[in-house]
Amino acid sequence: MTSAGLLLWGVLPYVCLVALIGGTVWRHRYDKFGWTTRSSELYEKRLLRIASPLFHYGIIGAFFGHILGVVIPKSWIDGIGIDEHAYHLIATWLGIPAGLAALAGLAMLIVRRRTTGSVFDATTNNDKVMYVVLLGAICLGLAATFWNAAEGPYDYRTSVSVWFRSVFYGDPKIALMSATPIVYRIHAAVGMVLIGMFPFTRLIHAFAAPVFYMFRPYIVYRSRDARQLGARSPQRGWERVR
């Protein structure tokens, strides 16, 4: 076990988890006003109309693919009668279209962002860093899938996935991860960075996915809060006195 391996697969995951959970709680507490999609549809619609759904549906597909391959243990999948070969086919032929859709959508979105003046003006440095990491994670994920299809099959469910779950048991299997092909290791590292920065970027809007809209009544009534006088709730601690 090298010290780099220990840092990457034993320490970084916990740093990122703390950043993800702590950052989300912190942002929910202190920055509800900044918690938005920051949509630029008002500026430009023609490209967004194609690119945005393409990217989002692609990335949602990729997300569920990761649940299937990394979160759910191999034995469960085997248990419902999907053997290694069948799984590999499913992962390849569903994963590649989803990844390509996400990549194509993101590429179009970035081009649109750069070439449409008003959209570019609304882009922060934070956005730019995030786009680099997100694009990197998607490209590497696709590279790993392509590599697996061409050189493989490589069953990451006996290495990467086991390590991933072991992180949550508090006993990270660092040696397993250190032995995986390089493309998986880079993808996992970049992915962890992306997860860690999630609450500190505009990606946070994913956590606002409005699933409750399906169940609530159409018209929402709310009472004026009698305890609250100002336009915002009183801040914690003492109010400033001048």
Partner: protein
Amino acid sequence: MKPMAQLAMVMNLDKCIGCHTCSVTCKQTWTNRAGVEYVWFNNVETRPGQGYPRRHEDQEKWRGGWELNARGRLRLKAGGRLRKLATIFSNPVLPELADYYEPWTYDYKNLTEAPAGDDMPTAAPRSLITGKPTDIVWSANWDDDLGGMPEHLDDDPLVGRLSEKVRGQFEEAFMFYVPRICEHCLNPACVASCPSGAMYKRSEDGIVLVDQDRCRGWRMCVTGCPYKKVYFNHRTGKAEKCTLCYPRMEVGLPTVCSETCVGRLRYLGVMLYDADAVTAAACEPDEKKLYHRQLDVFLDPEDPAVRQECERAGIPHDWIEAARRSPVHALISKYRVALPLHPEYRTMPMVWYIPPLSPIVDALAASGHDGESLDNLFGALDTLRIPVDYLAELFTAGDPEPVRASLETLAAIRNHQRRKNLGEEEDPGIAGRVGLSGQDLDDLFRLLAIAKYGERYVIPSAAAGDARSLEESVLGDGCSLEFDGGPGMGGPFGETSGQPVPASVETFHALKERQTSDSSADKPGGRRVNLLNWDGNGRPAGLFPARRKKEK
């Protein structure tokens, strides 16, 4: 029965001169900030005309409001819950900035800083969105006073529904103004469209608001509102809309648009309604009956049983008393001269309009007739079909009868009052022709023509009113560096992050910023002090140009 109270507005279009004072004061109060440059919570449209945003009444295109599904139940015209979530990544029917207009300022700096030359320097327009030179091609009231007619006449979605012959005559026959704010509907489609549940109707006064902390910028409300009165702030990424000036209304003051209305044509008051009956009324299959169905939803505050029921439902006593004196209730339910704007959208709007009689009087006078004579006016209402049909498209889903009844009442007031002024004997037949008494006509005259401040605005204050007035001195009123683009504005995650500042403080600083800057909204470093607004104290940043580095 579930009685609820609603603060509602009536506008008397007969008195609107299209001066846009309401729009300007509203904008100065609420939307003079970056991100909402293109937004007018209150705007005044010339009719016939396209309106703002362009052709917003064309619901086949913009899909606003409700429609009935095959089973006769209400469904959002832009699609139900599943469809909303499926299209959440790019709202297919969101108006673009071009449908409103691209806001601009002028490059005034050039006037003083242009090098000496043969030509006078000009202040060329600059886009407030990109900061680049721009061409001014449209605005919120581009077709003001029928500007651009007849080129744009066919772009009015309502004119499109009238017959060919009518259209040609329209321009010379008829023109009037419609000031528009949020309708604060009883069955708001914007609230129903919000995936986050951030939009709500206040149960005390029915004001429809956006919770800025819960809005996530999905933009479905903009599509849902058929009046296009919810706007997207492109800087904060949140929806904003007319608040019916709730901070003023809560302390018993009229809205800014009402307060500053030169023609004194706005009325504010309480309407009591039965919340349980709203959905059933909005489900009325015949669009032309929607106006009557909405009237049935309102409760009569003079009915003791209703008052008892209201007390039981927890409506404060002074609100019920205010409902009895409500000018809005008188104009809508008692005299039925006010009509809803586009009831066919099925949102049960609560800003109603008294249709304009003046253009008809003018048309009569222009043709050499006595424009004040009751017989002439009644006859004109029959022969001048164009205005009545157009007004009916606007107010009653195409049913001319309520419009005619309202205009006849207005004509009767004129005639009744003329007889009084000329010292002639009162003719009970005049009032009788519109089903009212002479006293009714006197009362209406007083309400519509004298229009005393205290009678136009009957606003019960919220209970917290007194405490609220202390708010600005007691609660922290923000950091002095919190103006837009200032060092205190925005958290670490871009300009929109961090705690919001109270509305009053934010607009104050935004106003200050606008007055002291002559560059586009988000140009750092391009800020200069406008000496006209400088109070002579201290040395504000930008008073002098930046010190140049010493050349070596």
